[in-house]
């Protein structure tokens, strides 16, 4: 399966994903600009992505904890998710995500 990730510079990457991995882990593994400082514990919001229209509704809904963290980011949108909470499966083959400025390894102070 593949996920399609647009980075902060607008470059589109087609990444080989694995069933059962988290989107954050795939993005990190391919060396894209993602901080993911808590390592996937749903504790920090530095793996924040925008999910493409059409895909957002196909994801498992966000937990209250995830919603709280998304709210703490400066660049939240209605289609915001934390990529560590997106569990990949064959149904999500072709999932399109955009990395946000707040997920950058050196985040910009907006």
């Amino acid at each position: 399966m593949k996920i399609i990730v647009t980075d902060q510079d607008g470059v589109v990457h087609e990444l080989e994903g694995l069933d059962g991995w988290r989107a954050m882990e795939v993005i990190r593994d391919w060396g894209l600009n993602i901080k993911a400082e808590c390592g996937g514990a749903c504790s920090c919001a530095t793996c924040h992505v925008w999910v493409d229209e059409g895909w957002y509704g196909k994801l498992q809904p966000a937990s209250d904890d995830e919603e709280d963290l998304i709210y703490s980011t400066l660049d939240q949108k209605p289609n915001s998710r934390l990529s560590c909470q997106i569990l990949l499966s064959e149904e999500l083959d072709g999932l399109r995500l955009t990395l946000t400025p707040s997920a950058s390894q050196e985040p910009v102070d907006a």
Partner: protein
């Protein structure tokens, strides 16, 4: 007040790896002081995932972040480490006499023979909430921490957030504030149930307000806040406020480490894999903050790095002294140091 502290080794960072370094150095009779920006030990384990299970610590099928920290604190207690919390190391310099001089933001100076940087992802800094123009109020009427409670006496205080910091400060400031409003985006809290109960009692007694909503914008002049505008499910609301305390968690920044003249690789300190020493002899780097070929950012890797670093640091602290390799299972000497023999 300017305090001067002299010791063998200063460890920067009191996360799991910094704590275990105390153990490995302690077995070699090396005394340590630890400095951390947080107000308690544990680093990321305590701040980011205290209640989350960790499954890859050797010998522990499962341990929580806080559980690991508590165990490490117990394990290093015999060595009497000295902790200096809620401060950041600003400068680190090698002196003409070969010792190192460190200064902190609370006007302390440390002199030591070796330095261990175990600073993980860098120093924790409060997150700025998503409110436009908030910078203009920071340090004047919007604060991310309470340094002096007196600054909040007879003020109209708005506290934003749903975690322990927000709840703890709501309870602590209620008796001295003129008015206090707690704002959180939903009615459920991620804080100790006892604090939530106490807060709800204060709301029921009419001593504080609780509003479910989000801060939309701030109103004031010259950095002095006067009104907090909230967006709520029922529409807009305004709260008169002269102080605001947003608690949106912490994020990590490398901070002053970048200015200490150490060779860096992508914001990580380059070390060798024999001593885990940086490009400056006598300054070691262990745990998530270092880089070497094959590095894995695992707590267990940091523990290994601490053990090897300790041998090298010992040679600097006690030059010429022969270090005998011993096991804690069999050495009475080591067991005496641990207080078990």
């Amino acid at each position: 007040m300017s305090d001067v502290i002299e010791t063998d080794v200063v460890i920067i960072g009191a996360g799991p790896v910094g704590l275990f370094a105390v153990f490995e150095l302690g077995l070699l009779d090396v005394k340590c002081h630890l400095i951390d920006i947080l107000d308690r030990a544990g680093g990321q384990c305590a701040e980011l995932y205290p209640e989350k299970p960790i499954y890859d610590i050797p010998g522990f099928p499962m341990v929580t972040g806080q559980g690991l920290v508590d165990n490490l604190m117990q394990q290093i207690a015999p060595f009497g480490p000295q902790f200096h919390f809620s401060r950041i190391v600003n400068t680190l310099e090698k002196q003409a006499d070969g010792r190192f001089k460190l200064t902190t933001d609370v006007d302390e100076t440390f002199y030591c023979k070796a330095v261990v940087i175990a600073a993980g992802g860098g120093s924790f800094q409060p997150k700025r909430p998503p409110v436009e123009g908030i910078e203009a109020y920071e340090g004047k009427s919007v604060f991310y921490a309470v340094r002096k409670m007196e600054d909040f006496r007879d003020q109209d205080v708005v506290i934003v957030g749903g975690g322990d910091s927000a709840l703890d400060w709501t309870l602590s400031l209620e008796p001295i504030a003129r008015s206090l409003t707690l704002v959180h985006r939903r009615p459920e809290f991620k804080a100790a149930p006892a604090s939530v109960n106490k807060m709800q009692e204060l709301v029921a007694a009419g001593r504080i307000n609780f509003l479910t909503g989000q801060v939309a914008r701030l109103e004031g002049e010259d950095g002095q806040l006067s009104v907090v505008h909230l967006s709520m499910a029922s529409g807009e609301a305004t709260v008169h406020a002269t102080r605001m305390l947003p608690f949106f968690g912490l994020t990590m920044k490398l901070g002053p480490v970048a200015d200490w003249g150490l060779e860096l690789n992508d914001n990580l300190i380059t070390v060798d894999t024999e001593k885990f020493e940086s490009s400056v002899p006598g300054i070691f780097a262990i745990g998530d903050i270092n880089h070497y070929p094959g590095k894995l950012k695992l707590i267990l890797s940091g523990f290994h790095e601490a053990a090897l670093m300790a041998q090298a640091a010992k040679a600097i602290v006690s030059p010429g002294e022969r270090v005998v390799f011993q096991y804690t299972t069999s050495s009475t000497k080591l067991q005496k140091k641990l207080g078990v023999a």
